[in-house]
């Protein structure tokens, strides 16, 4: 793939993230954040806008599908046969089909509910129904490719996406709402105080979830401080963290300063246009930072996770000669299965071991008769292609550079029949 195509893929990915965030942000704002006294017609306006963002999301999905097809066809415009095979024969293709179908159904439902008068509970249902659309993006992200604790990583990714969408998508919806109210000269201070207060509470919970899930995902995908600094995905993550810090600072200022000031102003019933202007400007900047975070997220989706960077770098070089085992520093491994002298039938052996990583251990290498045959990040797996006969199985603990093997090994003999 050339740079332009990768850039296009990242940009389309970012548009998809932004569109789905705006869908949720506008539905949630229309259904949950607007004060109870708000008119149905205004809620309807916001809900219709959310439905339009669903169409943008669908367009971005089609773009992403074409790019995916081009990747499978060596950069050329994909044939229908390739696209059909991708959609029907691969896991990510099937997820694409389900998400696109779901988005179409949601858009139709949304337009149907918002025809005429939009009932509040209908809009609230739309907000809830848009959650699976956002969460299901995790089923084609890096999370699905993580080998260890996959379901936890997918769940964390889904929470991360929903929290980001609620915060950043909600911000844009809040801004749109405040500007529309000001343009209509319909901005009451009590209304504004209630509205901002509701969003602030939602944003507070979203940021907490976003931060916790993001921390866990960074640990899974980046793995170490060295990888954070030395790999492309680590560097992009640093940029994303910087943007997050800036957005968080502005959010904190709004939460701790602007929100109480507007509330006090509402209590005193004293209008202060400059305060509202200042609040609006802060929200604009915060929204821009949110969009930038989505752009970095789109970029991250096309970069290999930092933990795989060493494998990527090794591609052009044969492995170094085996060197002496390095001090274990607390690492140890014990083979549980097969047990010593166990007879197995067929050419497969189920390997199970207890791994203590200590200070340097990261994963394990399995050797059969001195030949490296498998790498395991969990506590076991399947060894394939075992020839009949008596074999020595050895498991060694390895550091995260995939080269340094530690003096933490265990051996068993087994017989393949």
């Amino acid at each position: 793939m050339n740079n332009a195509m990768v850039g296009l893929e990242a940009a389309i990915s970012a548009i998809g993230y932004i569109a789905q965030a705006l869908v949720l942000g506008f539905f949630v704002t229309a259904g949950f954040l607007l004060p109870g006294s708000e008119s149905e017609s205004f809620r309807r306006t916001l809900a219709i806008r959310a439905c339009r963002f669903l169409i943008v999301f669908l367009c971005a999905s089609v773009g992403a599908l074409v790019i995916q097809g081009a990747k499978l066809q060596h950069g050329e415009l994909p044939s229908l046969e390739i696209l059909w095979r991708y959609l029907t024969a691969t896991q990510s293709g099937k997820v694409w089909l389900i998400r696109a179908g779901y988005a179409i159904a949601l858009a139709l439902l949304g337009f149907s509910i918002t025809r005429g008068t939009a009932r509040l509970h209908g809009i609230r249902w739309l907000a809830l129904l848009s959650l699976p659309l956002i969460a299901s993006r995790s089923l084609t992200s890096h999370a699905i490719a993580v080998k260890l604790h996959t379901s936890w990583v997918i769940a964390a990714d889904a929470v991360h996406l929903i929290a980001t969408a609620l915060w950043a998508g909600g911000l844009v919806a809040v801004l749109t709402t405040v500007r529309a109210k000001r343009n209509q000269a319909d901005l009451s201070l009590v209304w504004l105080a209630q509205f901002i207060n509701r969003f602030s509470r939602l944003a507070f919970v979203s940021v907490a979830l976003f931060f916790c899930a993001g921390l866990y995902l960074s640990w899974v995908h980046v793995g170490s401080l060295t990888t954070l600094v030395a790999t492309d995905s680590g560097n992009v993550l640093i940029v994303k963290l910087g943007l997050f810090a800036a957005m968080l600072t502005l959010g904190a200022i709004n939460f701790l300063s602007t929100r109480p000031a507007i509330r006090d102003m509402a209590h005193a019933d004293v209008g202060n246009n400059s305060l509202v202007d200042k609040a609006t400007t802060r929200i604009v900047v915060e929204s821009m930072l949110g969009l930038a975070i989505f752009a970095t997220t789109g970029y991250l989706t096309v970069l290999p996770p930092g933990v795989h960077a060493l494998h990527a770098a090794r591609q052009n070089f044969p492995p170094a000669q085996a060197s002496a085992l390095q001090p274990a520093q607390g690492a140890k491994v014990e083979i549980i299965a097969p047990v010593n002298n166990q007879a197995v039938t067929g050419d497969r052996v189920e390997l199970r071991f207890n791994l203590t990583k200590g200070n340097r251990g990261h994963h394990a290498h399995a050797y059969i008769d001195g030949e490296l045959i498998g790498m395991f990040e969990g506590n076991g797996g399947t060894l394939n292609g075992i020839k009949p006969g008596r074999h020595m199985l050895e498991v060694r603990v390895v550091a995260d550079d995939h080269q340094t093997e530690l003096d933490a090994t265990d051996k068993v003999l087994f017989i393949a029949k």
Binding site: M1, N3, A4, V6, G7, L8, A10, A11, A14, Q68, K71, L72, R85, Y86, A89, T90, Q91, S92, T140, S141, H142, A143, I144, A145, K147, L175, R179, D232, V284, M288, L291, A292, A295, T296, G298, Y299, V302, L303, P304, P305, H308, H311, A312, R314, Q315, P318, P319, H365, E371, L372, I373, G374, M375, G381, T382, N384, G385, H402
Partner: protein, 126 residues
Amino acid sequence: MFFRCLIGLSFFLWAFVIVTATPPVWAHAYPAVSVPNNGATLKEAPSEVRIQFTEAIEMAFSAVTVIGPNKEIVSQGKLRKLTDDSLAIGLKPLQAGNYTVEWQVLSVDTHVTEGVLRFTIVPSGK
């Protein structure tokens, strides 16, 4: 209007940064272990090539081809999925010489990778 201009500007800035700054390494599934090992010198000809990748892979768009010293294809049979992340391809009886394993896979997180591994068979007795 000002708001829309800001959105457009920030998006184009980010698109520019992405297009100009992206390095030429995109993909995600890489061989973690291969049998024969990359760069190995063997005295006995293997009967198959196995590759374990760093991520689970999709069979529908994955391929492994082994090329012999005279540029002939020496792999045979259907590509087999051993586990979610491991593939195997059978080999014809091999003679001494340098062999190249060309692989291309689609990982479950939608990324396409390709590369080559190499191994050498020396005449027995050397």
